[in-house]
Structure formats: structure tokens, C-alpha cells
């Protein structure tokens, strides 16, 4: 009889124990999928949301802009660069933007704020969170040079509504103070109070004129990629593709270092939880296999007496742990699928617990917790638990092969 067949039969000597151990591995799959799936989903949402708030997954900007952003640092030939980038694979959009600080004033009040100048003909809700978050009015048209989109809190502070005027004041490329009138065409609400209370969106062509920029000049090009996990690869690809020493190509990890730190910290916490889950499962498996080995000490003695080598005996017990791992993982997949489906499609709404301001580091967090597991995470969970089960079998397997046969035969 082949070792694997024998190991499989050995597993069913104590059915209840095998099922309980397999179930604990399965429960480990469920817990790991839940923790890692929530992380995969929430990180992706945070990164994608951050990307459509202005800087993209990858940003092309003038050297030094990331450290000290200012309106006198600008890119030229943005149209040509954007077209070149759009020809690359897995790029969803490449959007030219001018970003800066401004004083925003209405008839009776003024506040400090920030503006993002966009091309209304190119931008949509898919690549721009502010457009997606319009709660009143609409985005200014390509021909409307004086249109402006304001946050709800800006509108509230300055007592603005659709059709009302505001004045924004900033400095141009020469350091001169410049002002311009704009008329509110829409109001957005992202849910992040600091953004809704300071941000306005303006038409890029008008801003170029106001700031004395040349026709194709801009602060940056914001690149939205198909899959955020590939941001670093895409950054390198764009860097190689553009090959321009004047430009700086940065991934979201560099431009959104706060967000990157939060995610890294959260990932570290998750790892600790996963390791603890793993250790608990490993202790259970070790206990099962060790008990199973100890109660068969005499049988192992017989096997060695009739010629089974310690290494074959070791392989037999390891094979038992392999079967246990396979069984546990299959059971885990079976119990996880309905839970995953529920959490993927519906999730759990934590709005009541989180409150009205769902943000971290200026990025909106979805209060509905969902699960979305990446393929590599699923592979990591299955491989990790499989390996853990095998590792748990090593000591019992070693022990099985190292009890002298003459001692084993004395066991009752």
C-alpha cells in the first residue's frame, strides 16, 4: 500500500478528531480571508479614492514639486506627455491639472483654501471624486471660463449657492497677486470635512490665463491606473517611457506618504493578528497529530520491526498532515464561500459606529465594510495554512521515527 493511501486511512481512524481539526483549519481560512479580504478591499478603496482626489496613482510633475509644491513649478508639453502615457497598457486616464492655494472670498467673508484646475472636457466622475460627489448643480462646461465647483462647507462658510459669485486670489508665475471672479455652477460633498471646507475646482484654461501659464503648462499630470497594486510598476514603466530628467514620476506611496504610512501600519497589525490565528491553529494541529502519534507508538514499533525505516515513518506522518491540510483547506473553502459572497456583495454597515466624517489622512473611508480578496492574497492564505499544517506535523513525525522499536513494542 502506498504511503499516501495509508496516511489517508489513518486520518479516518478517529473521524471526529479529524473533522474537528480540519474544521479548525477551515475556520483559519475563514478568519484569514475575512481579515485579509477586508484589508485588500479597504486599502484598494482608500488608494483609489485618494487617486481620484487629485494626484492619481502615479503623478508626473516637475522636479521638487512633491517636496515644496508651488505655482511657479510647472510642466510643459503636458498634452504630448498625457497622450504618450495614454498609449501605455493598463492606464485608465492621464489628466492635466494645476493645483495651488488661494484665498476664496464672497461678498461678506473670505477663507483660505485650495484649488484644482481641471479640463472639464476630459474629466468625469470616474477619474475625479469631486465631480462624482456633486450634490447640487453641475460641472462647469468647457466654454464656461468663469465656472467654479465648491465644497459644501465652503459654500456654507461663504454663504454661496448655485449662480452666486466668488473671488479667488492667488499668486501667478511671477509672484504677483492675481484675482479672478467665478460663478458657482455646482456644489460637491465628499464627506471629508477638511476637503469640503477648503477645495474649489476651476477650469484649467482660465487658470492658465490668470496665472500667466503658457497654453500647455500645468502643475502635474495625474495618472489613474487599472490596478492600484501595479502603481509602482506603472511608475517605472512611465519613467522609462518618458525618459525625461526634468520630470519626476512618483507613485501614490510617495505623493501620499501619510496614507502609505497608515496602510503600512494597519498591514503590520493585520499580520500580527494573522500570525496569532496561525499559531492557534498550529497548536491545535500539533496537538492532534502528536496524540495520534503517541497512541500509535506500538504500531509504529511494529512497522519499524518489520522493516519500515524511520524516514518512511516520518513521511507517513507528514503525509497525514498533508491530507489533514488538504481536507482543512477544502472545508475552509466550503464554509468561506457563502460568507465571502455575503461580505463581497453586501458587507456590514458601520455608519452608526464611525460617525459622519469617514476619513483618514484626508481620504474617505467607506463605512460599509466589505471583503475583496486578491488572487495573491488567496494564494498566500492557502499556502500559508498548508505550510503551517505541514510544519505542525514535523515534530510528531520526527518523534514517530525516533522511538526505538524495542521501546515502542513495550507500549500497550
Amino acid at each position: 500500500m502506498k504511503i499516501r493511501k495509508m496516511a489517508w486511512r489513518n486520518l479516518w481512524r478517529r473521524k471526529r478528531r479529524t473533522y474537528i481539526t480540519a474544521l479548525s483549519i477551515g475556520f483559519g481560512v475563514l478568519l484569514s480571508v475575512t481579515f485579509i479580504g477586508i484589508a485588500d478591499d479597504s486599502y484598494t478603496k482608500m488608494i483609489n479614492t485618494s487617486a481620484v482626489m487629485g494626484l492619481g496613482h502615479v503623478t508626473i510633475e516637475p522636479k521638487g514639486y512633491n517636496e515644496t509644491p508651488s505655482l511657479d513649478k510647472r510642466l510643459g508639453d503636458t498634452k504630448e506627455i498625457a497622450e504618450k502615457i495614454l498609449q501605455m497598457e493598463d492606464i485608465n486616464d492621464a489628466l492635466t491639472r494645476i493645483m495651488g492655494q488661494a484665498m476664496i472670498a464672497s461678498a461678506n467673508k473670505s477663507i483660505g483654501g485650495a484649488f484644482m484646475a481641471i479640463d472639464p472636457g476630459r474629466e468625469t466622475g470616474d477619474s475625479n471624486l469631486f465631480i462624482r460627489s456633486i450634490v447640487e448643480g453641475h460641472l462647469f462646461s468647457e466654454t464656461d471660463g468663469q465656472g467654479v465647483l465648491v465644497g459644501t462647507r465652503v459654500a456654507k462658510k461663504l454663504n454661496l449657492s448655485i449662480g452666486k459669485k466668488l473671488v479667488y486670489t492667488t499668486t501667478d508665475v511671477n509672484g504677483e497677486i492675481v484675482s479672478e471672479i467665478a460663478r458657482v455652477t455646482g456644489i460637491f460633498e465628499t464627506g471629508v470635512s477638511e476637503v469640503d471646507g477648503a477645495m474649489i475646482l476651476l477650469p484649467i484654461d482660465r487658470i492658465r490665463t490668470v496665472l500667466s501659464y503658457k497654453p500647455e503648462e500645468a502643475s502635474l499630470i495625474s495618472v489613474v491606473v487599472e490596478d492600484q497594486r501595479r502603481s509602482a510598476d506603472m511608475r517605472n514603466m512611465i519613467l522609462r517611457g518618458l525618459n525625461d530628467p526634468v520630470l519626476e514620476v512618483l507613485s501614490w506611496r510617495e505623493t501620499q506618504s501619510d496614507l502609505s504610512s497608515i496602510i503600512s501600519l494597519d498591514k503590520a497589525g493585520n499580520r500580527i493578528i494573522i500570525i496569532l490565528i496561525g499559531l492557534l491553529i498550529a497548536a491545535g494541529i500539533l496537538n492532534t497529530l502528536l496524540m495520534s502519534v503517541m497512541e500509535r507508538t506500538r504500531e509504529f514499533g511494529i512497522m519499524m520491526a518489520i522493516g519500515m525505516s524511520p524516514s518512511t515513518l516520518f513521511r507517513l506522518v507528514i503525509m497525514e498532515s498533508i491530507w489533514l491540510a488538504i481536507l482543512g483547506l477544502i472545508l475552509g473553502i466550503i464554509i468561506t464561500i457563502p460568507w465571502y459572497a455575503f461580505m463581497y456583495y453586501h458587507g456590514i454597515d458601520f455608519t452608526g459606529m464611525i460617525g459622519s466624517d469617514y476619513s483618514a489622512s484626508g481620504v474617505i473611508i467607506d463605512p460599509v465594510v466589505k471583503i475583496r480578496l486578491f488572487r495573491e492574497s488567496a494564494a498566500w492564505i492557502l499556502t500559508g495554512l498548508f505550510t503551517l499544517t505541514i510544519l505542525s506535523g514535523i515534530y510528531p513525525a520526527w518523534r514517530a521515527g525516533h522511538v526505538p522499536p524495542v521501546e515502542s513494542l513495550k507500549e500497550l
Binding site: 500500500m1 502506498k2 495509508m6 486511512r9 489513518n10 479516518w12 481512524r13 506500538r298 504500531e299 511494529i302 512497522m303 519499524m304 520491526a305 518489520i306 522493516g307 519500515m308 525505516s309 524511520p310 524516514s311 518512511t312 526505538p404 522499536p405 524495542v406 513494542l409
Partner: protein
């Protein structure tokens, strides 16, 4: 047939420590077992019978003296070499059958052949032939818990002889079976010895085994009391 020594003990000893006391389980024993022997080690409990079988079978190593199997010194062999020797050259029959419970009669009998890496078709031929020889034809798919004690011991004998070992070491093989089964098993082993020339060495108290043995080595306190050969 009996000119070649399969087993040779030269002043073999096995001492154990039990607390402060030294127990001499085997004390300076010397004898030879020849090809075709049908020999019994007998003596009271604690006389060293099982220890002698363990030494010959390479399950234990002597504290002093030498134990040779087919001319090779067992005391200096590595664990893996001892495993190979037990697999290829020794057949064991234990008092409590000691079949592997998850295997059928066929699989138990074929177990050592599988360890030897014998191809399936060859293995099947040999196992079926041996099972027929020990009277278990038709029971090959039964597991140990579906067989009587006598049937289980026949499977154990089949397992011990299927590899055509140099010697079969049988530790109290009739102790757990009734008289009818004990007689039947002894007849079987006698026939295997007579017809196939398989060498048997028993440890036993059972008078029925002693009555059928061609050679009786009596032990007392680990020492040889007598060594009688009957024609």
C-alpha cells in the same frame, strides 16, 4: 540443509539499569541457528527469550558480545541498515498479531513487499500465493477487526514469510489463540519449514510449540540452561 549458520551469538549480553540495579536480561549467551532450523527458545518469564529475539532481529543492540545475522555484525549497523535488514532478511510474528488495523489482509501481507519496492503485479502474485498457502484465500479484503485471532495470526505469518526471509522470529505466536488454532498454526509453520525450508525461531512457554520444535534452547536468568536437538 543445516550447515550454514544464519544467526550466531557470541557471548552476547544485554544489561539494563533499573534504578540502581543492573538487570542482566541476557548474560553471555552463545549459540547458532542454522538454515532450516525449527527451534524454540523456552524458559520462564524474565528468562530473556524476547530479549534474545530482539537482539537477533536488530530491534535492540547487545551490551556485550556479538550477534551476527548471515555473517554480519548487527551491533555495528546503522539504524537505516538495521531497518533494511529487518525488511529484507527477517520475518517477525508477534504474540498479539500486530497487524496494521487500517489495512486489509492482503495489504498487511503485502506491506513489506511494498517497502521493498516490489512492482504491483509481482507483489500481487506473491501475496495471493502466500495467502492461499496459509489458508486465507477469499479473505484477502478483510480488515483485522473482521477476522478471528487465528486468521489474524495467519496473516502475520503470511506477512513474515512473503519476503522469503533468512529467518522468521516468532514471539509467543500461539499465546493469544485457542488450542485448535494453535495446532493449526503450528502445523502451518512446520509445513513451511519442511516444504519451503524457512528457518523459524520461537520464544515460547507453550508445550505444544516445544513438543513440535526440532531444537530447544532453554534459558534461565538470561543464561543458557540447555540446548537440545531432536531429529
Amino acid at each position: 540443509m543445516k550447515d550454514q549458520a544464519i544467526v550466531m551469538l557470541e557471548d552476547a549480553s544485554k544489561y539494563y539499569r533499573q534504578g540502581q540495579m543492573e538487570v542482566r536480561a541476557v548474560d553471555g549467551l552463545s549459540f547458532e541457528i542454522h538454515k532450516g532450523d525449527f527451534a524454540a527458545l523456552c524458559g520462564p518469564s524474565g528468562s530473556g527469550k524476547t530479549t534474545v529475539l530482539n537482539l537477533i532481529g536488530g530491534l535492540d543492540v547487545p551490551t556485550g558480545g556479538k550477534v551476527y545475522l548471515e555473517g554480519q555484525d548487527i551491533g555495528v549497523m546503522s539504524r537505516s541498515r538495521l531497518s533494511a535488514i529487518r525488511r529484507d532478511r527477517i520475518g517477525f510474528v508477534f504474540q498479539a498479531y500486530n497487524l496494521i488495523p487500517v489495512m486489509t489482509a492482503y495489504e498487511n501481507a503485502a506491506f513489506v513487499l511494498t517497502l521493498q519496492g516490489i512492482p504491483d503485479h509481482e507483489c500481487h502474485k506473491r501475496v495471493m500465493s502466500i495467502l492461499k498457502e496459509v489458508g486465507l484465500e477469499g479473505l484477502e479484503h478483510r480488515r483485522p477487526d473482521e477476522m478471528s485471532g487465528g486468521q489474524q495470526q495467519r496473516v502475520a505469518i503470511a506477512r513474515a514469510i512473503v519476503t522469503q526471509p533468512a529467518i522468521v522470529l516468532a514471539d509467543e505466536p500461539t499465546a493469544n489463540v485457542d488450542s485448535a488454532n494453535a495446532d493449526s498454526l503450528l502445523r502451518l509453520m512446520e509445513r513451511l519449514n519442511h516444504e519451503s525450508g524457512i528457518t523459524f525461531l520461537f520464544s515460547t512457554h507453550d508445550q505444544r510449540v516445544i513438543d513440535r520444535a526440532h531444537r530447544i534452547i532453554r534459558l534461565h536468568d538470561g543464561k543458557m540452561e540447555s540446548d537440545e536437538v531432536f531429529s
